[in-house]
Amino acid sequence: MAGLIYPAIQQFMPFYRNIAAKIALLPMIVISLTVFVGCIIYSFVYSLTNSKLVPVMNYVGFDQYERLFKQRKWDVAVENIFIYGFVFTIGCLIIGFLLAVLIDQKIRGESLFRTIFLYPYAMSFVVTGLVWKWVLNPTFGLENSMHMWGMTWFELDWLVNRDLAIYAVCIAAVWQGAGFVMVLMLAGLRGIDEDIWKSLSIEGVAKWKSYIFVILPMLRPMVVTAIVLIAAGVVKVYDLILALTSGGPGYATTTPAMYVMENFFSRANLGQAFAASIIMFISVVCILAPWAFYEFYLRNKYANN
């Protein structure tokens, strides 16, 4: 009897579908709701106050937001996160894909190269930041070495040049992240059926064309995964910049996350920090929501139909 009823319940009441899995997920759901949603609400409420060192309920309306948008520093931070996000994502994808394709050419010592390329990813952002800080330092880094080798025309002042410093940060980040994308792509490439390659070569399609027009679209899930992981890293970038430039020269490489942390911990300006973090949250939702909706919901729907 039960064997008949249970599937019937499942069919008509979707809530009971996979009930065991849902129970198992319950703690995670509860934690997400209380911690994430709770914190967001808390931050929003206190962003409407003039809290300084400790949170106090002293309502000032949207003053903190008004002040935030008047800050030159905030403008710089927002601009930087877009530059960083764009260069870092594109850089990682292109270099990661290229490395994967090159390694996929059945070369000798493949595992050695794979290890070398993946190695930077094993380092924390703080170490990455310090390494590149030394490499790019004009007084004792690469520029100095080149000068000592007689190449005095060589100039590498990115780190101390306020217009280029953010790109120096991007280089360090791409160096760290590209290997990870490479591994993802390589796994995807290894999953491509031999027959596809055979038929492509029978058709006489050039190798580079096969990669770009046939293989790359087949790697779509890998690309999506890579973008999601990279994008999550973009928004929260903090430690890399702290180690590499500390937001300098001046505040030329500051980011929204740094702005929040600064106001939160060293400037005793909690209200402002909350306001900035709420703006960060809203922007992330605005960018990610439509795309995530398409990628994870609409596409499945069409695929199922």
Partner: protein
């Protein structure tokens, strides 16, 4: 809500939990501070030694960087696990803690020992006193108002040691020609704004500064003299090197010590670096308080004592507060730290020529200068410093724009 906030912070800030000893007569105290360099460690250990000689236990929680240390203190207080004592600067940094009733009043011991009679200068009392009660212990005085100069460099180029920024600027091109960096400056916001503060007080004088920073008087800011400060500051910055961004202050001082650079503007804690390098004041290096009128700024450190439910902790806190202002302890501590003591009746026979200069100056009440952060919140000084740092680093940021932005901060009500 406070509880919730504490949980939130606990996730981000690793806390070190300590058990407060219940044993009678023997007291345990955990002290958070940011004194981690060689000279600083020597200084704090004088406190620890004195505390342990009293038969107590000292738990040292040293956290690198003032910002981090203060952040940890605040988070632990709000999280319900306060340290016995914690370091702050002579400033408005801890006002909120007092207003929220989170700090232990020290009035009991302060009035019993007559702190108001011996703490000098009296401005330090103002820093610690709220509604007639003491809430912090000033332990030393540090002044930013110094130029540290390598004498050999000036001998080499045949120039006298400069006494003002104008004289320095006049000689700077000659030093540059000799292949030496005229101005050593570490490109971190606090160093840039610290030097800016010295330039402004040496040009404007303290009464003028007071009108701007204490009274928030826009007309004083706009009377045309502040532009001179900005221009002088911009001129000075032409004489730094390109390795400046992000350089630490002590690495920068080392450049002056080694003769790679001629001059650094830095607080009197730089003296420790010269001493460690075996250099002699006024022989190998000069310390100059720039400007026609000479000031000693009233920076420095205080300790606060967060409230605790345990009455034993309060006893320990009052005992420690009393120990910190003790004459003998003050003498040992400040000799190690290189700072000026917070009372005049302390033995300073070990002082070198530079420290003596500060000691002589501080006895004259007109020469005592206060800084922006004595009157203003960290949020205000940080917003101000951002503009100064950006002004130094962005050549397209015009003086007129900077003046508008500074006025914006002054009237922001931060």
């Amino acid at each position: 809500m406070k509880k919730f906030f504490s949980i939130l912070l606990t996730i981000f800030i690793p806390l070190s939990f300590t058990n407060v000893s219940k044993a009678a007569g023997h007291m345990e105290a955990e002290v958070i501070h940011w004194w981690t360099s060689g000279g600083e460690q020597a200084a704090i250990s004088e406190f620890a030694k004195a505390w342990e000689e009293m038969g107590n236990t000292w738990i040292d929680t040293a956290i690198t960087g003032g910002d981090n240390a203060r952040g940890t203190t605040v988070n632990r207080i709000i999280g319900g696990n306060p340290p016995t004592a914690a370091q702050f600067n002579v400033s408005k940094q801890f006002v909120d803690l007092v207003e929220q009733g989170l700090l232990q009043s020290l009035e009991e011991v302060a009035s019993a020992e007559g702190w108001r009679d011996f703490i000098y200068p009296p401005e330090l009392i103002e820093t610690c006193e709220f509604e007639g009660e003491f809430y912090c212990v000033p332990v030393n005085i540090h002044s930013w108002q110094w130029m540290w100069i390598n004498n050999d460099v000036y001998k080499q180029v045949g120039l006298p040691v400069p006494q003002t920024f104008e004289e320095f600027l006049a000689g700077a091109p000659k030093i540059q020609e000799a292949g030496i960096i005229p101005l050593a400056l570490g490109g971190q916001t606090w160093q840039e704004s610290g030097m800016f503060g010295v330039v402004s007080s040496s040009i404007l004088g303290f009464p003028h500064m007071q009108k701007i920073f204490r009274d928030k008087d826009v007309d004083t800011l706009r009377d045309g003299r502040f532009e001179d400060v900005l221009n002088t500051y911009r001129e000075l910055n032409q004489f730094t090197d390109e390795g400046s961004p992000g350089r630490l202050w002590n690495d920068t001082t080392a450049m002056v010590i080694e003769g790679k650079a001629a001059m650094q503007v830095m607080g009197d804690w730089a003296r420790g670096e010269f001493a460690v390098a075996g250099k002699e004041a006024m022989v190998d290096y000069s310390c100059v308080i720039p400007g026609k009128e000479k000031y000693v700024a009233l920076g420095g450190d205080v300790f606060v004592f967060p409230k605790n439910d345990d009455p034993k902790v309060k006893d320990a806190q009052l005992a420690m507060a009393s120990m910190m202002v003790n004459q003998t302890v003050q003498a040992k501590f400040n000799n190690a730290k290189g700072s000026l003591p917070m009372r005049l009746d302390v033995d300073t026979s070990a002082a070198d020529a530079c420290m003596q200069m500060g000691l002589d100056l501080i006895q004259n009440p007109d020469a005592i200068m206060r800084e922006s952060d004595d009157w203003n919140t960290p949020a205000f000084t940080a917003a101000w410093d951002d503009i100064i740092s950006e002004f130094r680093n962005d050549p397209n940021y015009t003086v007129a724009q900077v003046m508008d932005d500074l006025e914006g901060v002054l009237t922001s009500g931060l």
